[in-house]
Symmetry: C2
Subunit: 232 residues, 2 copies
């Protein structure tokens, strides 16, 4: 579509952000030029530097405006789960921690109206972004949230070595990023899926992730004896 009509207005900033978001997904950060962005947004070339200062600052803002919202949803969900557990006098379950973390991602990825899906695809791709500047502010943006969730996972799996929980959380983020970045990430699976309904991805992914978390620890950790069966 892309309607480069609509003579400006004060929504120039937002139009630039939306256009940049979409183009970043399609071509990557580097391969998306200022001219592509301003043409798609229907604004003057100089508008980006006027409103954001630089291309790097624009990139930062594209991520910031959505990531703040996403991580707040995650933390709120974790708060609710912990409160519920405390009210019942029970320990929070690993599955509840994972759901609090990954459900908001998938919900945002399902939202095709407000551009959430576009952004989550972008975010999924950006987890492996080599650009040092991008990696830095993404790490900062995630730091507190990740800290909270790892602690919650540790608490919910008292018998399992933290090192192993960390590794599995790492694997889970990989599976999720990949799943969200698109079934056609590599075109390897293009055309093979019959059911790409995003609403079905959440239960599919959660089931897979929980299975991975519950799996017996490798032999060299346990001394050939499985002890990590206390997950739910």
């Amino acid at each position: 579509m892309s309607s480069p009509s609509a003579r400006s207005g004060p929504e120039t900033r937002g139009r630039i952000l939306d256009a940049a978001e979409a183009l970043f997904v399609e071509h990557g950060l580097d391969a998306t030029s200022m001219r592509m962005i301003t043409t798609e947004a229907g604004v003057n070339l100089a508008a980006v530097n006027y409103h954001f200062g630089s291309k790097d600052s624009l990139i930062h803002e594209v991520f910031r405006r959505r990531l703040g919202e996403l991580n707040q949803s995650r933390l709120a969900a974790l708060d609710r789960a912990e409160q519920r557990a405390r009210a019942n006098g029970t320990q929070i379950k690993p599955s509840q921690v994972l759901e609090a973390f990954f459900t908001p991602s998938l919900e945002m990825a399902t939202d095709t109206v407000h551009g959430g899906r576009t952004f989550m695809q972008l975010l999924g791709r950006t987890y492996t972004e080599p650009n040092a500047f991008v990696r830095k502010f993404l790490a900062e943006e995630y730091a507190q949230t990740l800290q909270r969730f790892l602690q919650a996972l540790y608490d919910s799996l008292p018998g399992v070595p933290r090192e192993e929980i960390l590794w599995r959380f790492h694997f889970m983020m990989g599976a999720t990023s990949y799943a969200i970045a698109g079934t056609d990430a590599l075109q390897l699976f293009a055309g093979r899926f019959d059911d790409e309904d995003p609403a079905h991805m959440l239960p599919r992914l959660m089931s897979f992730l929980l299975g991975g978390l519950r799996a017996p620890l490798p032999d060299f950790v346990t001394g050939a004896e499985s002890v990590a069966r206390n997950a739910e």
Copy 2:
């Protein structure tokens, strides 16, 4: 290190490939310029175009030389596993299929001597590469291998819908790419891991992947009844 001495010789091609591989991992494909590559390799700027024709062709060759070898290892491992099963008159197990696919990746990722580790990090990052040209030849390079392995997985899990197997294989590739691309992919986990011994990653990852594959199917698939417990 990087020794830009050694007055050329016929190994100019190889030096360029190695330098490009390392720089692609560090900065990404776009952000790595011809001048960076030729400087690192200690060759003249024009050497890339002379030996490879263009930057795109160089990129293609960087992937081709290692990917062929990797997929041949995978197929050979699958052949051996199927032969063994046929000799015993048994069906091949899902775990054996997965091991045949993912073990060669991890082995290559562990090889720090011949640059295998560098390449696998690059490959992990490239699964989400937006560059259409790169995606195209990677898909071609993978097509046959993926076909064989998916069929083997289908055969080893006769009771499970193919759609679900496909999704889980997708998730598994995500977890693996992410794991290999580096524990510091996002610097999110930087400094948190005590044990980054690559030799320990394989059992950790295989355990996680098998757990995910074995997990009960989501309710909307089974009608709230689990049927996917036949994995090993």
